[in-house]
């Protein structure tokens, strides 16, 4: 019997309001130093490495809204599931262009798939989120598919 109710499957296609942000040279430089980057163009902030995008989606919330473990409240696209432990399942990026300081990007985040599999220790629910980073003209620069696993 499937764990995925019609209510859960009905969450497929839900999206958050688009997030607009400007890429900052100083943020790129900090990120490059913190990751141990060696390439001069990233260390100078002349271009952002791909994984810099991970940092721009972290919500900036008041301290009293953070959880006891320091985390932000979970993604509002995450439906109520019968399996409660949520694990990172990895990310897949399609890259269509480079990211430069001063670029104004729009990220559109949506829940694009929910499916279940039988794992060795029981059922697993896979949730696939799409983060679509576009430039101001609406052209995709990077499309990320991020998988989270409930067990």
């Amino acid at each position: 019997m499937s764990l995925l109710t019609e209510q859960i499957k009905g969450c497929i296609g839900l999206a958050l309001p688009p997030v607009r942000f400007e890429v900052s040279r100083n943020d790129i430089r900090k990120y490059a130093v913190a990751t141990g980057q060696r390439q001069a163009r990233f260390l100078a902030g002349d271009e952002a490495p791909l994984m810099f995008l991970f940092s721009v989606l972290m919500p900036v919330l008041p301290l009293d809204q953070l959880r006891e473990d320091g985390h932000c409240p979970d993604n509002p696209l995450l439906p109520e599931l019968p399996l409660k432990r949520i694990l990172a399942g990895g990310s897949r990026y399609q890259v269509h262009g480079r990211i430069y300081p001063g670029d104004v990007l729009v990220c559109r985040q949506s829940l694009v798939d929910i499916h279940e599999k039988q794992g060795s220790d029981g059922p697993l629910i896979f949730l696939v989120f799409e983060n679509r980073f576009e430039n101001e003209a609406g052209e995709p620069l990077v499309i990320e598919h991020l998988t989270r696993i409930a067990r």
Partner: protein, 133 residues
Amino acid sequence: MNMAIPEVGQALPERQYTPGTVQLFLYNAAIWNAHRIHYDLLYAQDGEGHPGLLVDGPLQGDWLTQLLYDWMGADDLLLAFEYSNRRAAYLGDVLTACAEVEAVEHRDITFTLRIVNQHGQATTVGRATVRRA
């Protein structure tokens, strides 16, 4: 500038990472992540049952891209990248990032990527495709 196309099976130069508390602090500040398992040892041990401070999964993903960026020429393009974290990595681990050519199609080169700890266990695996200019 046209750069050489590698052969299937060819490995890129490995890179070793031994992150310390300062790097974990700076990384989590840069990505605005306050999860205490990365900087609060007592919480990581008593609150979540870890033996030490955890090395972020996405940081290891970044390290895999660094192998590629260090090898790529200025006009080469990173077309695709994926990674997943397979086991926890802790402060004090010696983490080695490795890449090997899996396939070559015209000027598109696909790599298999992994990070292994000092016990030879993969903590993160991945794949990427680069287009040579």
